[in-house]
Symmetry: C2
Subunit: 894 residues, 2 copies
């Protein structure tokens, strides 16, 4: 190699060229093998071709750098030496067999290629037979090799080989591979070779070096196979890392009863308990454990079968756990009584186990609190905070929608909100709708879960359900809801009113019938860990909550205030909606004010409840936001009703009444309500609404202040895009607040701020900050307008986009840092330029998404606000962001 | 004045302290008086208190700077001296009377206050009687003074005085002021004084200096009266300019038959003809000319009555026009045979006159071509390019909507597009709809004009009508359209199918009946001026055109290419829509491709027509943009239809058929179609659409290329927000184009670019420019998403916003430079950072708005593209922008 660059790293004889920290260059497996070798762990010798070679391989048009083949021969020599010179690659007398395996920085299990038993050919097979004295073993090894090499390297379909095996078994009238004799296997090898020639028009390679080079290039090539690409996309693994190739002396667990192979964990990966966990098979190869043909034994049984080996294994794995300071997932083989470790890596675990292990390891003095916190993936907590479907239950999944709000629920199907309220008094119900609107809130409240045919991850159903902490499967486009016939169909399955279904909002599954669900326990370890989380993080976490019940839940989950109270949700209660409608249908200010006067005491009492629950913590109240027609009957339903009344010649007076209502609904009808007369545009055109809401807020605060309770309400003006919009509303609020305080004879502090949820607001944030005393980024709406995506409609193409890699992630779930994030950053910078101490938060759905929380921390936000159920996730994500900034620990393993 | 600052400027005796260039400081009137005085024009002497004093007046809390009153006394002395010492302010024997007038930099006619005849009191009236020997004149002057001062300075309602005059006339049984005797007028003065005391609780001030100071402060105060504020807002006049106060010796045109007063123009302001134009009254004061009680005479008659004066007036005004190098609008008074000029200013003129005057003055050598171009306000051209309502016609306006597309049209009312097509074969029709959709295109095409009850300036109806160059009144919310009853109502007026109406799309008026319209001539001067425009401007102007007919019109109006061809408009033809629907309703790719194959030859032939018309000029073709459901029947109408069929027990098969259609419509239904599955999102999910459209474009170009015609189509991908969206479509386009060219055996050049119409696209323009070969800013959509305003729905509040000064201008008409403009600028800068020669244009409606065109020029765009009818406006605006940058000439007078 002219460049002098080191492309190959050796390991063996207790010493390796590399170390465990060189995952970038050697991949996880290669680094692990080097580290184990250096630590004196018995590892079959071998060498690793670096990930750099993989990248060069692609740069050079699928060719390795010149000279690499020669260098491999040198290293093969070292390997032979490490084995004491007893075996030689390609030697017909004492053949050395090797494995060729991929291994990238992050584990991508099963995604890339592996070839075992490489080095066998028509000559070396004889040596293997001689050396082992086990003809059947040798022929089995050869046929496995041809099969694997043929498939992986030469691209022959697996079926082609399986078919031949099947034929031979049929002929011999046996059912298991193990029943085939050495003769049979030898015949199989011949037939396989014929098949290879037939499919590829070439002979199966007999030159072991040709075998090795072909296998190496196949492994490099597998880095970019479609399933590896998909896996990387789903797991956020960059495509430019490349894979290393590990070439290692084969050891055999299938050389008789003193041989075995197994896998294990140093702690229980499901519960986190500190117990030796795993399984093994005697006289078997690794793939047999996975294939499930024979049932493996629990690893503790090895103590009885091979006590010496067991003890050595426990010692080694204990040492490895101590060494790596984390749970190890390991593979081993015992060849004729000798233990070899083939792999060790950080063990994947459930959220439950992750917490227990992290807390235990701190107690054991193995890791610090900071490391413990980093060991828990924030998003995984979601599993812990909601009921799940009993994993042991047998279920029939009939459809799959979007996992819109986690948790599982069973109940009888209902199709209207009113029916939901009625039936829920007797038994649990699932509300099924084409889509939900604010009209359905009372039904959603009554139901155990919600299923919709339309709408995305941030559709009305999804947002409200998450707010309520209720399971929801949204945008389940394969179900056809027929409201009139009170049924829904999926293909040939029909589900009628009153039938049982179960939904799993964590996976999007819709299941026929009643399925047992279980509430996973949140152990005391959870509380311990969260207390460390709160010691570490510096960014605040608030919750979005509209009613005292939600506020209490938010407190339970550790929220430090309310970042968003959507006052319109107070308008939907059964007894209030008619008054709200009266207000909307008023055709003059006087009548509107009369209706508002009736709503005032109701809102005031809601605010009092909210303020009392959150005493000592800030409460941000957003003024009325949605377009008014959301509170009225649907236009198309009225149109249908009236047409039918005409067709059926209903009394004229009743038709006229409906028509009058339709007229007003038509007046308010909008083609794109998301971009219509809503947000502060309402409070500007109808100042009496802002006045009433301000009165309710300030009166509630004054009344509590008189009782000695300190409340600082933060009044938030929605959908501001023009400085004068905020000026107008702020003037109105200040004037009203002064009047109320004058009348109540008590002064309370309050702030007036705004949502930044339109691109224009971010662009002119310096101007807006002249008026705003705080900012809260409404990243749902900001995502909608920045992308021009309606959250209700984007389901039609966003799925296609993420599947086809046009978008990495659904931007309604994870904040789009490149576009929307650029506006958030611009908003923060410009806002603070005007008002250096400006309090800035986020109250979109992203407030509960870990990657977005990290972005918020980096961007200097004071707090994030999210659904009560996601508060713990946001807290831990905020702690991770802080630690990442401080440079503590690595990231959680992928 | 301690500061030594000069606050007062004198004019008189042929010499003035100021000059005509000092409009900022002296206001237009003051500067004009100074300039005229310096030029030897006979002007009554006086002095001007500067606009700086006005600003100080507000800074000091409505007080003038100390010492000003004393300084005014000095200047009054100078004025008396200039009058030869014959008159003295407040002198009971030879009283000097003065006028007190406002005058700001820009003329604001009638908006601020004026007081005449100031200096009269119970003593000086006697001197005036003695001096003039005309008791009636003197008492009339005194009562006019009390009336004016009482109203303007003391705030007494005009009615209060009028009522007293009315009473006295009733008592004397006369009907005209002129019939009142000196005695009557004297009695009136007494009654007026009593009224003043009664209303204001103080006597009418007798001290002439108190009168003067009060009047001065009232004039300063009138700068900020509501109507002045509104006028400034409407005319883009800054609020911080302030007004000057002009105090000038009174001259009287009502001192007998050798006295007269008049107004005039140096050229005809209506036609532009070089003729002396104006009117006068003998024995009258200026206000009498305006009041219309006596009919004034044409100014040329003055030649007969007072030939000496007439000659002097012609000489003076000719000199003024030469001096100012523009048409003058002047006021004069003849007092007992002596001519005084009271004012001269730039004369306002019609667009027609403006062009003629500008061209004539170049021919006369008075101004340069550049100046001539600057003399024509771009927006005013709109008047010239469309038919208008005959100004002499008597009309009954029944409603007023938005002036959505200029021009007037009369015709019979129809309520459906089909009816429009049917009836239009016999006679002109006006299509009246609640709102239009693409379904209505054929009806809009057949109608003479369009009237809608809903939708803003950029609603579908407005945009399409402007594109077609057809009159449209949109968002006329007071009309209630009843499609079923085939009528519309406005208050108590009902208009039925077949009734005649006239709409004026230039003003938004809806008129009952058939009103004559006239096509204003576009004179040869227009062509001359536009040729100078094209010599000056450097930015290109293209047109938005979808069909060869529009393209021909665009060429006629001077477009240098097509900046936007909306291919979907080709889908709406009667014979094509069913095929488009077949394509949409296809539930698999095969069926969709079959339908597309039928559309291919149709689109190809359209493109050929377009390319042939625009030969030598670029044509930008936008791929399919609107959501597919726009091509299908409306959801709510189908729902009604089906419900009625059920109610009437229609045959099951026909119901099922409709229901199936509804199902597909429901599938495609979107809550916010503007943010839905449209633009490139269609071509990505249904690549066969992009393939078909690319084939049609490239095949057309290839076929023409074979005939030796060079076409460089610019294929534009709409609604890109993510780089990979453009990559995806570009790959598809390139591949398809290569295939076509291969097959056709000919190579054509083509470009692939994108619309920048989403905030995210502007933010990541550097990334997008890696793929895009050109950018075109779609500022309609960009305005929608930046503000979060739906152009279809914003009518509900945008009117309120502009009226209440929350927004200065409708951002759909004039580009919002602060917000949307910031994104455009970002897009241009980032795009050119990646690709320095990136061709950038704009194809939103703003391309035809002068202020927006100037912004586009400043921002470095290569071209603007607009409706064919606005091309001349854009051309002249582009020339203005260029001249402004070069610092040539001032702006057009306000």
């Amino acid at each position: 190699m002219a460049t002098g660059k080191k492309y190959i790293y050796f390991f063996g004889s207790g010493k390796a060229d590399g170390t465990g920290t060189m995952k970038d260059l050697l991949g996880g497996k290669g680094a692990g093998l080097a580290e184990m070798t250096n630590a004196g762990v018995p590892v079959p010798p071998g060498f690793t071709i670096t990930t750099e070679v993989c990248n060069l391989f692609y740069e050079l048009g699928k060719r390795v750098p010149e000279g690499l083949d020669g260098e491999m021969r040198e290293y093969m020599g070292k390997m032979e030496a490490a084995l004491g010179g007893s075996f030689k690659f390609g030697d017909s007398d004492r053949p050395l067999l090797v494995s060729v395996r991929s291994g990238s920085k992050f584990s991508m299990p099963g995604m890339m290629d592996t070839v075992l038993n490489l080095g066998l050919n028509n000559e070396t097979i004889q040596g293997l037979i001689r050396r082992t004295g086990n003809e059947r073993f040798a022929w089995d090894a050869y046929r496995r090799f041809i099969q694997m090499f043929g498939n992986v390297v030469m691209g022959i379909e697996k079926d082609q080989f399986e078919h031949i095996i099947h034929e031979i078994k049929k002929k011999k009238k046996v059912s298991l591979d193990i029943d085939l004799t050495a003769e049979d296997l030898k015949a199989l090898v011949d037939k396989f070779k014929v098949k290879v020639k037939q499919v590829t028009k070439r002979d199966f390679p007999q030159d072991v070096w040709e075998q090795l080079i072909m296998a190496r290039d196949a492994v490099f090539g597998s880095w970019n196979n479609p399933r590896a690409i998909t896996y990387r996309r789903l797991n956020d693994i960059p495509g430019n890392l490349g894979t290393a190739v590990n070439i290692q002396a084969m050891v055999f667990g299938n050389m008789g009863d003193t041989s075995a192979t197994g896998v294990g964990f140093t702690r229980n990966p499901s519960t986190g308990a500190k117990e030796f966990y795993g399984e093994y098979l005697t006289n078997a190869q690794g793939e047999d454990v996975v294939a499930g043909i024979r049932t493996p034994h629990p690893i503790v049984d090895l103590d009885k079968e091979m006590p010496q080996v067991y003890k050595q294994l426990r010692d080694i794995t204990n040492k490895l756990e101590q060494h790596y300071r984390d749970v190890q997932d390991f593979e081993f083989t015992v060849q004729e009584g000798t233990l070899f470790m083939l792999q060790t890596r950080t063990g994947k675990r459930t959220a439950h186990a992750a917490i227990k292990i992290a807390v235990d390891m701190v107690k054991e003095g193995l890791i610090s609190k900071e490391e413990a916190v980093l060991r828990v993936e924030p998003a995984s907590l979601d599993q812990l905070l909601h009921p799940i479907i009993d994993p042991k239950a047998k279920i029939e999944v009939i459809a799959k929608g979007l996992p819109a709000s986690p948790g599982a629920a069973s109940g009888k199907v209902v199709f209207t909100a009113d029916e939901a309220v009625r039936m829920a008094k007797k038994e649990p119900v699932i509300l099924v709708r084409p889509e939900t609107t604010p009209d359905d809130i009372h039904g959603m409240d009554a139901a155990k879960g919600i299923l919709t045919a339309r709408g995305g991850m941030t559709s009305h159903a999804a947002v409200v359900a998450r707010g309520m902490g209720k399971p929801c499967v949204a945008g389940c486009e394969t179900i056809k809801v027929d409201l009139k016939a009170e049924k829904f169909t999926v293909g040939k399955v029909t589900v009628k009113l009153g039938d049982h279904i179960t939904i799993d909002g964590g996976t999007g599954r819709v299941i026929i019938g009643k399925v047992p669900t279980k509430d996973p326990e949140v152990s005391g370890d959870f509380g311990t860990l969260m207390s460390w989380v709160d010691e570490i993080r510096t960014m605040g976490v608030r919750a979005n909550a509209d009613i005292p019940r939600d506020a209490r839940m938010a407190r339970k989950f550790g929220a430090e205030g309310i970042g968003l109270c959507r006052t319109e949700h107070m308008f939907f209660a059964e007894e209030r909606l008619p008054i709200v409608q009266q207000m909307i249908l008023a055709d003059n200010t006087d009548d509107r004010e009369k209706a508002l006067a009736k709503l005032l005491p109701m809102q005031r009492s809601d605010f009092k409840g909210l303020f009392e629950t959150m005493e000592g913590y800030p409460v941000t109240v957003r003024l009325l936001d949605p377009p008014l027609h959301e509170f009225l009957p649907k236009r198309e339903e009225l149109m249908v009703e009236i047409a039918v009344m005409h067709a059926k010649k209903a009394p004229k007076a009743s038709i006229t009444k409906k028509e009058k209502l339709l007229h007003r609904v038509e007046d308010l009808h909008e083609l794109n309500p998301m971009l219509g007369h809503r947000g502060c545009r309402l409070g500007i055109v109808y100042p009496e609404i802002t006045r009433m809401q301000t009165r309710a807020i300030i009166e509630a605060a004054c009344e509590l202040a008189k009782k000695g309770k300190k409340i600082v309400p933060e009044i938030m003006v929605p959908l501001v895009g023009i400085k004068k919009e905020l000026q107008n509303q702020k003037d109105l609020i200040k004037k009203t607040a002064e009047e109320v305080m004058e009348k109540k004879g008590v002064k309370v502090e309050y702030l007036v701020g705004t949502m930044i949820e339109l691109p224009r607001a971010a662009i002119i944030a310096d101007e807006i900050a002249k008026e705003a005393e705080f900012f809260s980024f409404g990243t749902n709406d900001l995502t909608q307008t920045t992308f021009g995506f309606s959250r209700d409609d984007a389901g039609k193409f966003i799925g296609y986009y993420t599947e086809n890699n046009i978008l990495e992630k659904d931007p309604f779930q994870t904040l789009d840092q490149e576009g929307v994030g650029a506006l958030v950053q611009m908003g923060v910078e410009k806002g603070r330029k005007t008002r250096p101490n400006l309090k800035v938060g986020i109250c979109g759905e992203h407030g509960g998404d870990p990657a977005s929380v990290e972005f918020c921390y980096r961007t200097g936000l004071n707090y994030v606000s999210c659904s009560p159920f996601r508060v713990p996730i946001a807290r831990i994500a905020a702690a991770h962001a802080k630690l990442k900034e401080k440079g503590v620990g690595g990231s959680v393993s992928k």
